[in-house]
Assembly symmetry: C2
Homo-oligomer: 348 residues x 2
């Protein structure tokens, strides 16, 4: 079992391994548990281990992150009379921890919560860093709060029932953390399965990168932007495909584009590991997109941050720049990206 | 014009007087303005003075504090493309500042906001202290966040269109602040009208008490509980009458009960100023309630804080105790309270 201690802005532990439930301290007051219905068995196990009697099953996926589900969960907590010193336990993937964290941030102006992430994505990304939130019809993650859990308990046995594509998807973010931190071990994901003995150490290293970056910039004012590596084009692809393309896969395509931008800026050739990532991941091939097809979505991203669009570009593992780029360079890299996709058999 | 500086947990100014709009610093980025439709004229004036083009009018009163209106406002901000560095301006009474503050706390995980309270209640109470939130069908203020404005601008000209009962209602909280802080000037509200020359100084003193108490306890862990003076019975009366009784009037009835509890505990006789307050306020008379009629609502309050019900009892202006009380004493004070109401002509 691996244990990380987050210090800033509030201290809490992150445990990764098998048997982590035994490490959860006894709950101080009443408790309620939200879970993704797809992991009901594990949720029942958590509830039993910690003596929680109020359980609410929710649909997983983006459907959970709506204002309707948010209101439903709040009303459920109020009906059960959960008081201000209660603890909310959240068992599920990133959508559940995002929703559950936001509920915990706002019910009675804030109650404690514990996260039990059950996907690789939730372990490596969503449950670390305090970002919680829900979607609006107008866009993803437009509403939320920074609210930190009192502990994150990643039970790796829960990953064994995860569909393999979902397992792989989360590791794209780990690969991204490897590029950001220059941790080469995180760039080798191809041999990982839910059974790999090195999975525990691998996930803990990936989590450690996010912990470090978010500790330095808990409220996303500067360094945290590095975590957007691969996400600018990734978000545009998600939006353009109306979220038919899963997040991790979109980011993997975005990482390929970022590697090409890095090469254009005179950086090291990062294409070999990114190609291996894509071949292992085998995402659904993309339709033949033109740069113009993605432009509106890139501009919308820009509008939201109210500054000229900054790209996170890797020049080498551990060496990144964040800067606006001229349109000519973006177009050339886009053409090179399409060529790469063709070569990898990822263009329809 | 009176200017107060809040220091904790974040610094911001509170201005009370005529002509405060001139004191608002220029807005750094884009802005949007929410307003209570009943003060549209003043809202237009604010928008014009500060160059705000996006305005949204909302119904005032508790109707504004629903999950539906919350979602509607968030979607409106997203449609207008308001970015993270935007400022939300909120013009209205306490319900508008509660709702608007919560929107500001959670839209894009938090944007800046400025409060322009247009009722005495909002000036003295709601717009100070960082509490924001909305209601659920299960109860009031069950969802929210602590989020502090960048400034509170109380333009007293806006009070001149306020219905007199609403004007008076807000001053009940000022009276309460007088009891808490031992500021005798705040116990004389009977001669105040929207035209009183001493209104500006009076309101600033009342605000100063809340600023002091909330600075010492911004997240409501201890001293802030003093602000619940009169509210325990007040909330029960509100709930029992299904909110037909306005908040300030319910609190005034609660203050009478608190004064009787104080007398029973050997405190100073605080009945004369509370009686004067009630005669001036002339709230709707109460139906002939029994102690048992209110008990379920008192117990529900207890459940929420998950501890035995603590009463805030004034022993003298500026000298209060917060403690559980034996049921016998509560019943005796209740009988005395009914006798007082009869004498004041406030029992149907």
């Amino acid at each position: 079992m691996q244990r990380l201690e987050v210090r800033e802005p509030v201290p809490y532990p992150i445990l990764v391994g098998e048997g982590v439930l035994k490490e959860v301290p006894p709950l101080a007051g009443p408790a309620a548990l939200l879970f993704d219905r797809r992991v009901e068995g594990f949720a029942q196990e958590v509830a039993k281990a910690l003596g929680v009697r109020h359980l609410l099953g929710l649909p997983g996926g983006e459907a959970a992150k709506s204002l309707e589900v948010y209101g439903k969960v709040l009303s459920w907590l109020a009906e059960k009379g959960l008081p201000r010193n209660a603890t909310l336990l959240v068992v599920g993937g990133g959508t559940l921890t995002d929703l559950g964290g936001f509920v915990a941030a706002t019910y009675l102006r804030g109650v404690a919560y514990l996260a039990f992430p059950t996907t690789t994505l939730a372990i490596v990304d969503a449950s670390v860093g305090g970002k919680t939130g829900i979607n609006l019809p107008e866009g993803k993650n437009l509403v939320g709060a920074f609210h930190f859990p009192q502990g994150v308990y990643a039970e790796l046995r829960a990953l064994k029932t995860l569909p393999l594509p979902t397992f792989k998807e989360g590791l794209v973010e780990a690969f991204k953390h490897g590029l950001i931190a220059g941790d080469e071990a995180l760039l080798k994901v191809e041999d990982l399965t839910p059974q790999s003995p090195r999975l525990e150490a691998f996930l803990a290293r990936a989590v450690a990168v996010k912990v470090r970056v978010t500790e330095e910039d808990p409220l996303e004012k500067g360094k945290r932007r590095l975590l957007n590596l691969g996400h600018t084009l990734g978000h545009a692809l998600e939006a353009q495909t109306r979220h038919a393309l899963p997040h991790g896969m979109a980011v993997a395509y975005g990482l390929l584009y970022a590697a090409l931008l890095g090469r254009a800026l005179g950086g090291e050739d990062l294409l070999p590991p990114v190609r291996r990532l894509l071949l292992w991941l085998s995402p659904p091939p993309l339709p033949p997109l033109a740069f113009e097809d993605l432009l509106p979505y890139l501009l919308r991203d820009k509008k939201k941050v109210s500054e000229s669009l900054h790209w996170v570009v890797p020049l080498a593992p551990g060496r990144l720049v964040v800067r606006p780029l001229p349109e000519g360079l973006l177009r050339e890299a886009f053409a090179a990206w399409r060529e790469e996709l063709k070569g990898l058999g990822l263009l329809r």
